[in-house]
Symmetry: C2
Subunit: 327 residues, 2 copies
Amino acid sequence: MAEVAKAAGVSKMTASRVLRDVSGFSEETRDKVMREVERLGYVPNRIAAAFGSEQTSTIIGVSVPFLSSAIFGSVLDSINGALAKFGYQTMIGAHENSAETEEVWIKNILSWRPAGLILSCHSHSATTRELLKAHGIPVVEIWNLNTSPIDMSVGFNHFDCGYEMGEYMLGRGHKRIGYVGADAETPGLGALRRKGFVSALKNASVELTSEEILNDKSGFYAGFYATENLLNRSGVLDAIYYQDDNMAIGGIFYCQSRGISVPEDVGIAGWGSMEAASILPKRLTTTVVSTQALGKTAADALIARVRGEPQEDLVITPTRLAPGNTV
Amino acid sequence: MAEVAKAAGVSKMTASRVLRDVSGFSEETRDKVMREVERLGYVPNRIAAAFGSEQTSTIIGVSVPFLSSAIFGSVLDSINGALAKFGYQTMIGAHENSAETEEVWIKNILSWRPAGLILSCHSHSATTRELLKAHGIPVVEIWNLNTSPIDMSVGFNHFDCGYEMGEYMLGRGHKRIGYVGADAETPGLGALRRKGFVSALKNASVELTSEEILNDKSGFYAGFYATENLLNRSGVLDAIYYQDDNMAIGGIFYCQSRGISVPEDVGIAGWGSMEAASILPKRLTTTVVSTQALGKTAADALIARVRGEPQEDLVITPTRLAPGNTV
DNA sequence: TGTTTATAAGTTACCGGTAACGTTAAAAAT
DNA sequence: ATTTTTAACGTTACCGGTAACTTATAAACA
């Protein structure tokens, strides 16, 4: 910048002012400086800027369970787009549903003095909570609505999603009901939906007949395979609730391959309105969620807090049970 | 750090040495310093570190078309994991298959003085190429093997993938052949596979009978819908090559919904060995690719270059045509 | 014993910006 | 004509580490 300033015949400080577009320079000076910036191909050094102004950087840390998850990918896209628009850079982390991995990542990212963090879908270690509180950095926890957040929480109410689906299935007259999930060792929020689901059944004095929770990651084949296990083990079921749509689709395919009709022989419901469901011959009964809305809301909330604007601590992102033709 | 040093009764410099684990201190001193680090909850300031050591930062920029794409998500996971292991932070960007968006992102990330960049799946603007060459920063271009890369290239040979599939289809006796793609306005590398495919047909004096390239993003429903358009327009086809597996699956479902048998009435092939194909009743004919291998290879290549270790400029990630039961 | 060598520190200057404050000259108010 | 205000700059110090150098101490050696 010193070079640019010298070439433009002004002081470093004036060049800095022009580049940051703060007040204190004339139009004429701006032109002179910008011309030299262009000519010399000057690329500002944000490291020095972040360092010089005792402020935090324009980095925002975003952590998700896996980057390969389609549904979180779409949340990430939405967050990243919203943040980029306001001049923030996204630093990502994949915590793999482990509080330790998350803690390591958080320690790392805090050393970059980020302006804020967006954490998803995991309960944090004690150290993590302390660290974040001590730094007083804006944090949005997303995915599940957390009623006692570190700072802010934007998310779906997974328990209610499950509860609602439980009531719906009972309402359709089902009695022998199963559940299919994944990630047994590192439970995500599917576990919370299951809890809500089971709770709805309990209220009607119905027990979960059987369940199959794999150790694998969720996916089409996991759903296929788990359904096979479940049905082999428990015999006839009226309906099965799946951790998510992809697993439910796998279940539908298993049934199809064995000549089991859906929903006549067994009802199937998922969660998450995932894209794959769009090609099924029957519309999948599921809970519709907007990952776009979630991501944007979370990013906006974080930016508001960073800028010191008023912002609710809790924002629920609505979900809707969409009855299809599979239950 | 000054506080820590003072508390430990050593100089700032010694504390710095301990924290970076470079030589020049005793075990006793390390213990003293580390104890105070723990006690005071010191989190190092990497911004100051990157600034102080005229070096580049430990940030690595990674740009992909979309974060919501399942296949790139898996590449990202693999890259991020490999980079994190070596103490690098990933800054992501989504270029949405636009050279301008990419350019804006690159200018932004360069202001963070990253140690290196991983760019995917897009030809760059002239300004971008100049900027990167001028900065002399290590760059790996991934996804497609680029024979004249800015710096390094790690990828699949998309043209050959298409060519191979073209030959395979001809070998199965198909003559009236169609193509289905997406992203017409912002073509990715599906366009290159199509080119290879068409080229194989041409070599056997076969013209592409018909094609349907949507403006939408690729996906199950896009494949479903595009197949409907294609078949309505061109009547009977022997086989269809799809931009990727997800679209091919959509195509299979369209056929199923209309009572068209695969592969008896029409053959269907995709690309990318995507997870969804695992639940199909028939194994999908496709090209198997390893996104894991690609990501890890790219990250390793970049780190090698950053560290000044010897590293090939071009690394091809092998692909394999996997004949299934759909062609 | 004196000299060399290795190890463990401390000192100083500096990285490239920005905050805070000081200066100047022109415009506005009295 | 003088004072006050304001916009447009310039100066200086500083952010929190690290590189490069210097110094102190102890061990190894001729």
